[in-house]
């Protein structure tokens, strides 16, 4: 069975085989995934994921091994595999890995749970998905399809390190995603709304799933009236979601220290230099109350914190794990995360956001003679090396003489990250943090992204 003892045993075997540092994570996770398309359940899965992940440092080189089987024989094989990999890497490693110093901790952290997710019958969760879907479908007869995804997971996690850290976790989180598609003739509008929290089943009241459903449906129907967007350079106002995605994708990824060290970041060698306008202050904050990406410790057992990335336009810090902290001669700040035991921890964001300013949305609008208001995000991609980005917004609206006029669809925002940060000349006070899922190094973790409304001068808008 899973326990801290399995993790400790794995660490001891590693040390016995000559590892200079080792850590082991043992987990057992119960998950539910329900995907409902219209009124058909595409997927109703309950799962048990159990396993061990071991990291061994040998002569300055890492090895990693993981196994879903916790049979003693397999644990031993996994540990030996990790060490074998480290020993094979060591002679080739030019720069020896050092780990930033941290105090050893013994602690136990549990999510605040009123109604344990595992105690709720599947039927109740399926009914919730049906209710959400029904709410969106009945909003308007032009709603052609609704997809609802319900996910939850909870369980036990154990981390032991050769430095004496012992952490026990009882995570619990859940989320709901609604995608509404409206159709009228050949016109199609698609909108996604989602929200999630770290809590028990009671979270599904707090995230107001029916409200999400109505909002998705309303916005999707709204898109049917929208015209294709113009292309060119405009003054842009980005809503909280799109600006949050920009903060995460374009700036956040570039502030991850592994990218900085490998040279794959436009923010490398720029500490204390100006990278944005005076209005720009950005954090990556693992301590944000009830944040989707919050945690007390990271996957290396480092206490997390609120990390200042940009202060009034000046770059102030990076997101660090122990290795990158040592290499950059900085203090570890708890930025290492792994999707699960089956993956090694890598430098990741938690809740990344632009700090609110004091203007109102109307004040942002007033300064715009001709521009585009962009809302929501369909995703996009970023080249952190070159510092370029491209995001597709869910919807938009033309701004003429300080007024929102014509609704727009198929609109994207692209540009250079640093130029865009410099061109931010208005920040509202209406901050919102929203739920995200971030992919990096083949791993997906829960991240929060946030921002108030932001005004950007001279931004590149692409229409269809």
């Amino acid at each position: 069975m899973v326990s801290i003892r399995v993790a400790q045993k794995a660490v001891r075997i590693c040390e016995g085989l000559g590892a200079e540092y080792a850590d082991a994570r043992v987990e057992r996770t119960y998950s539910t995934e329900i995907r409902l398309m219209k009124d058909t359940f595409d997927q109703v899965a309950s799962g048990v994921d159990q396993g061990l992940g071991v990291r061994a440092l040998y002569k300055g080189a890492w090895g990693f091994g993981s196994s879903t089987s916790l049979e003693p024989r397999d644990v031993s094989k996994t540990v030996r595999g990790a060490l074998k990999a480290a020993k094979a890497t060591a002679p080739r490693a030019k720069e020896k890995v050092r780990l930033g110093e941290i105090p050893a901790v013994k602690d136990s952290v549990a999510a605040m749970v009123k109604e344990p997710l595992q105690s709720v019958p599947m039927e109740t969760k399926m009914q919730l998905a049906l209710d959400v879907s029904g709410e969106a479908s009945k909003f308007d007869k032009r709603i052609a399809s609704v997809t609802v995804t319900y996910s939850d997971n909870s369980g036990e996690t154990y981390l032991a390190t050769s430095e004496g850290t012992q952490l026990i976790g009882r995570p619990s989180r859940g989320s709901i995603v609604v995608v509404a598609v409206a159709r009228e003739g050949a016109k199609v509008g698609t909108i996604r709304e989602r929200n999630g929290m770290q809590a028990g089943f009671e979270l599904f009241k707090k995230v107001e799933p029916l409200g999400l459903a109505r909002r998705a449906a309303e916005r999707a129907v709204g898109l049917l009236q929208a015209a294709p967007a113009p292309s060119g350079r405009f003054t842009v106002i980005a809503d909280q979601k799109l600006a949050g995605v920009f903060a995460h994708e374009a700036v956040g990824h570039a502030s991850e220290a592994d990218h900085v060290i490998t040279g794959e970041s436009v923010l490398r060698d720029k500490i204390d230099q100006r990278v944005g306008s005076d209005l720009v202050t950005m954090y990556d904050d693992s301590t944000y109350p009830e944040g989707w990406g919050s945690s007390v410790y990271d996957s290396e057992g480092v206490p997390t914190r609120k990390r200042l990335i940009i202060e009034k336009g000046f770059l102030k810090g990076y997101i660090l794990n122990r290795e990158t902290a040592a290499r950059l001669d900085m203090q570890p700040n708890g930025g290492a995360r792994a999707q699960s035991f089956a993956y090694r921890p890598v430098v990741r964001m938690s809740n990344t956001y632009l700090l609110a300013g004091d203007q109102s949305f109307e004040e942002l609008l007033e300064g715009v003679d001709s521009g585009v208001y962009l809302k929501g995000s369909r995703g996009g991609q970023v080249d952190t090396t070159k510092g370029t980005f491209q995001f597709s917004a869910e919807e938009g609206c033309l701004i003429e003489k300080g007024q929102l006029t014509k609704p727009l669809s198929d609109v994207s925002l692209s540009g250079m990250t640093l130029e865009t940060l410099m061109n931010i000349d208005g920040i509202a006070g209406d901050f919102q943090l929203s739920m995200g899922l971030c992919g990096k190094a083949g791993q997906v973790v829960a991240t929060g992204m946030g921002s108030p409304h932001v005004r950007i001068r001279n931004a590149v808008v692409g229409g269809k």
Binding site: S46, T68, A342, Q381
Partner: protein, 459 residues
């Protein structure tokens, strides 16, 4: 191993399932990560799990229930069986759900198991990584190199209460290299990939050299005038675009729900006559080859688009039963975002090896055909495509200008908007340079570089 699958199956039936199926994979993946011109970390990942699916008959039809575990203890398996049956009981009856896959004769598979691969050690991968680095760092303008090498071997098994009891072994080998070149403040990025069921370090090392070459040639890019261009697209980009559009559009499950623009188009011309696309599960050394699909149905080769005409959609047991047609053996377990082991998912529909029929000659000869165009290696944002309408808006990655049959300069920034399947009508030529690119677990695109005519490009 098979003992615990049998236990799960028996338990399903004794606990009240009308039919049951247990799908399992057991895989070991060894890989190395290359960062900053250095081999960084060796990893060995062992993953085994089973997905348990039951079918419960009830008034008005039947329902399925699903559950998976990576812990094979009897107690956990018994709990999982109970959950799967519980789910099937509470789901509304589906009148079209008739049966899980019935037993049928399975032919021998193409060779997809390379005996060398399970013997590959982390140290072997590291040597390959070092050779890749050596090749890629020859040019002094190369500033950063990252990449990966991996070798995996595994066994896929399925048992069901209708008598199916089969398994096959497979291997995989591949990697990628991402190279950044710098000169006087200009940054060029190049990448290349290689993947096969068989071990072939030479090809991977050659890919590393190509990635570096592309990175250097991407230095000092110039802007492109917006307008209509002939676009030459490489295989990696095509695989990304196809997976997010065409592959989803030929899924019978989505067609039956009217969520594909190809619904009702069988027998119609959906592409130019130069386009022939087949799904072939029996290609030697191909990552999508397999003797049976993820429900245990024997796989076979199908023509999907023949000289521009849509011939068939891909079916699993459910969609075939529903429509009263032959099951094409295309049950597949995957998700579109992130990674999830196959055993953790209920089957949907997907291709094995999607093969775009090649033409003659190399990529250079294809480029020589182009008067006014661009060469595109990859797309950014293909996952944001709208499957249902087929509309996509893509940023182009690694772009070169083609003028009068010659590559003339690297292009700074470019975007295209378009629609699948409409764009298939603009495919004029294909080269003969077949390459396989993985599209998901057990899915690959095997295609040449192609030429798409008159695409509107924004800059």
């Amino acid at each position: 191993m098979s003992e615990v699958l049998d236990y799960a199956l028996r338990r399903c039936v004794t606990q009240g399932a009308t039919q049951a199926e247990v799908f399992s994979t057991n895989e070991i993946d060894s890989n190395i990560v290359i960062e900053k011109k250095e081999v960084k970390i060796g990893q060995i990942v062992r993953d085994q799990g089973m997905g348990i699916r039951v079918l419960v008959k009830k008034a008005g039809g039947a329902s399925t229930g699903f559950s998976y575990v990576t812990d094979f203890s009897r107690r956990t398996v018994a709990d999982a069986v109970e959950k799967a049956i519980g789910t099937a009981r509470v789901k509304k009856a589906d009148k079209d759900l008739m049966s899980l896959q019935v037993k049928a004769k399975i032919r021998r598979a193409a060779d997809i198991f390379d005996r060398r691969v399970p013997r590959v050690d982390p140290s072997d991968l590291i040597e390959i990584g070092v050779s890749m680095l050596k090749k890629a760092s020859k040019n002094p303008k190369v500033s950063t190199i990252s990449g990966s090498v991996h070798a995996s071997s595994g066994e896929t098994s399925i048992v069901n209460s209708l008598g199916i009891c089969s398994s096959y072994k497979s291997t995989g080998f591949g990697g990628h290299m991402y190279v950044v070149a710098e000169l006087n403040g200009s940054v060029g990025v190049g990448w290349e990939t290689h993947a096969s069921a068989y071990f072939s370090s030479d090809k991977l090392i050659a890919a590393a050299a190509d990635a570096a070459d592309i990175a250097v040639r991407q230095l000092n890019p110039k802007p492109l005038e917006p307008g209509a261009y002939d676009v030459v697209v490489d295989q990696d980009g095509l695989a990304d675009l196809f997976m997010n559009t065409l592959v989803q559009q030929v899924r019978a499950d989505l067609v039956q729900r009217n969520q594909s623009p190809l619904a009702g188009m069988i027998g119609s011309e959906v592409a130019s006559e130069n386009v022939t696309i087949a799904d072939d599960p029996a290609v030697l050394k191909a990552l999508g080859s397999k003797p049976f699909d993820s429900e245990g149905c024997p796989t076979s080769s199908r023509s999907i688009i023949e000289k521009g005409v849509l011939r068939t959609f891909l079916h699993n047991s459910y969609t075939a039963n529903k429509q009263g047609v032959e099951n094409t053996g295309n049950s597949s377990r995957y998700i579109m975002f992130g990674t999830r082991p196959e055993y953790a998912l209920e089957p949907i529909v997907g291709p094995h090896n999607l093969i775009l029929k090649p033409g003659k000659g190399g990529k250079e000869e294809l480029i020589r055909e182009v008067k006014n165009g661009i060469l595109v290696r990859g797309f950014i944002g293909a996952h944001t495509s709208n499957v249902q309408s087929g509309d996509f808006s893509l940023a182009l990655d690694c772009v070169f200008r083609i003028e009068s049959g010659e590559l003339t300069f690297p292009v700074k920034q470019a975007m295209i908007g378009g629609n699948m399947p409409s764009i298939l009508k603009q495919i004029r030529l294909a080269a003969g340079n077949l390459k396989q690119v993985p599209m998901g677990p057990g899915m690959a695109l095997i295609s040449p570089t192609i030429l798409v005519e008159k695409v509107t490009v924004a800059a």
